[in-house]
Symmetry: C2
Subunit: 343 residues, 2 copies
């Protein structure tokens, strides 16, 4: 990697300052907090005037922060792949390019997930055997040692995708949670082999011979009970689960506030219901996480991220670099090449 534009900081992150519901205000604030807290160099990417205006609100003495201009922003709801190619000077793409050019070690964005994904694929490239990145995480705060993937990047997964998910989840749990031999479960409608749809039936024997610590099928109940460290499923199912949890967290914490209104002080009740919401609602709890399978560290934060979630996501990006996540994942993916026959 070139040292062009670098400081003496050990970790350099490019942050898409324009992406997310609370951009640029909360993104810039989070990036500054992260620069101080994690001793990182932060490169803020986006409309320069907007970023400068935000920077003026903060004390940035003694931290390493600079701006790289980008002219466009891809909003949620826009067709990501198309927009990325039509407007290459968008903030997500410019931020990803800084990693390719060796100016940053990792990229973080809370913007349009599709745009972040396509930018990362374009500028960092995919690992061998993968056709798209995967997204996953310990999405339920109540079972913090259970990572579920895919959570929506790979819809219509084939059996060999399930093995890729299992590999990525295993490397993630090893790298981020320090668990040496994570258990892997296949999300299904029954415990016995032979249950489920065609994809699940065909994925089962592939997982058995993957060399991973595969414990067989798990059911929906096993996610909140944390019965495996890595639970793999089609992105269609994962996405529905994550969003279901989000709505349920809202309803349950609201119910609790109404229900205990007369029993507990207002302040205490606010605190309990907010913590419960955070434990149930994935995006908030998670902050963000790496997009798995690109040749580099690209982390996606939830669109609703505020400064603390941006700090959390940048922390994960730093951890990913320090733990050698990308190299370890590439190594494991190479190991299982050919095993599944479809790569």
């Amino acid at each position: 990697m070139s040292a062009k534009g670098s400081t003496n900081k050990g970790f350099r992150v490019s942050v898409d300052a324009m992406g997310g519901d609370f951009a640029p205000e909360e993104i810039v604030k989070g990036a500054i907090d992260a620069a101080r807290e994690l001793d990182a160099e932060v490169i803020l990417v986006g409309i320069e005037a907007d970023i400068e205006k935000e920077l003026k609100k903060h004390d940035i003495s003694g931290i390493a922060v600079r701006i790289v201009g980008a002219k466009e922003v891809i909003r949620d709801g826009q067709e990501a792949a198309f927009e990325v190619f039509r407007r290459p000077d968008n903030s997500a793409s410019v931020a990803a390019r800084l990693v390719k050019d060796g100016e940053a070690d990792a990229v973080v964005s809370a913007g349009n997930t599709g745009a972040v994904m396509v930018s990362a694929m374009q500028h960092l490239g995919m690992m061998p055997g993968l056709d798209r990145p995967m997204v996953g995480g310990a999405f339920l705060g109540l079972s913090p040692q259970t990572v579920v993937l895919d959570l929506g990047a790979v819809v219509g997964a084939q059996p060999y995708h399930m093995v890729n998910f299992a590999v990525a989840g295993t490397v993630y749990v090893r790298s981020f949670m320090g668990i040496d031999n994570p258990t892997v479960g296949l999300l299904n409608v029954g415990a016995e082999e032979g249950k489920g749809n065609e994809t699940a039936k065909e994925a089962y024997p592939l997982l058995q011979k993957s060399g991973l610590n595969f414990i067989g099928n798990v059911e929906g109940v096993d996610i909140p009970l944390g019965r495996a460290n890595v639970i793999v499923c089609d992105g269609f199912v994962g996405n529905i689960l994550v969003k279901f949890c989000e709505g349920l967290g809202k309803r349950v914490s609201g119910w609790l506030r109404d229900e205990l209104n007369a029993d507990v002080s207002q302040k205490r009740l606010e605190d309990v219901s907010e913590r419960l919401y955070n434990l149930m609602s994935p995006g908030v709890a998670l902050g963000g996480g790496p997009m798995w399978g690109v040749n580099g560290v690209a982390c996606v934060a939830h669109g609703s991220s505020k400064a603390p979630q941006i700090v959390g996501t940048i922390r994960q990006a730093k951890q990913a670099i320090e733990s050698g996540f990308v190299g370890r994942l590439r190594g494991e993916l190479e190991r299982i090449q050919g095993l599944t026959g479809e790569q």
Copy 2:
């Protein structure tokens, strides 16, 4: 229907006394409660000596209850279809046969769901255009006017199955909730048409021309928020959601007990956390519901049902008879025949 063995009761139900985790004790108790509460004739089906022993524990004066013997019980975990044909004298099959023979108006069982399903298919037959029954319900107590199906009976659903689910859900909501023109949503990973897996993409236009009140795609978040009256999905997804909720209900109510231990009295806390669990955990909240698509009323109760859930399920069976659910569903299914091209 023959009047053989019938009393003057307006509603006659055959109950599989041997099915469920708490059979025969809780099943017999629930059936007796239902006989009194719903002014029904109850036929208890199973091992005669076992049922007689339970009956002796209760005051059965003035209610219509009788026993019909069955020699075998199919347990959970046994391969249902195979066992039903190998042992036709099992309690689930004998109970279903009583409806075919005109001795009962409906059948209720908390036993092996597969056995109940195969027995009902065998003795009552399927409605035109259907290859298997469907299972659904308002599975989340927090959104009581939202019915989701399929919940696990139809795994690997084809696009035309989604239309059947939508029809069955619509008739159910009309019959049981008194909502004239229920909204129908297709569970998907995004709101726009063209999102999702192949089945969802192909089901969308079929639902559009179904003549139902189709409002387009809905996402996971829309289930707890109750954004449609009928939400259709593959049984693979539905089953995972229901079981996920069950585990999550356990975890959340447990968390709440620990968290508020010092704030609220033990008794009050038990009450709140139990009610929250019931609101989240489908089987308990639901009690049970009709299996949709067989030519008759066959209701499945959750395996963990105790007496109150058995009463609830028998009440639903009575409502199904009184609302003409079966005839209405058959009529709607005939109306959409040919529309989907695959029936």
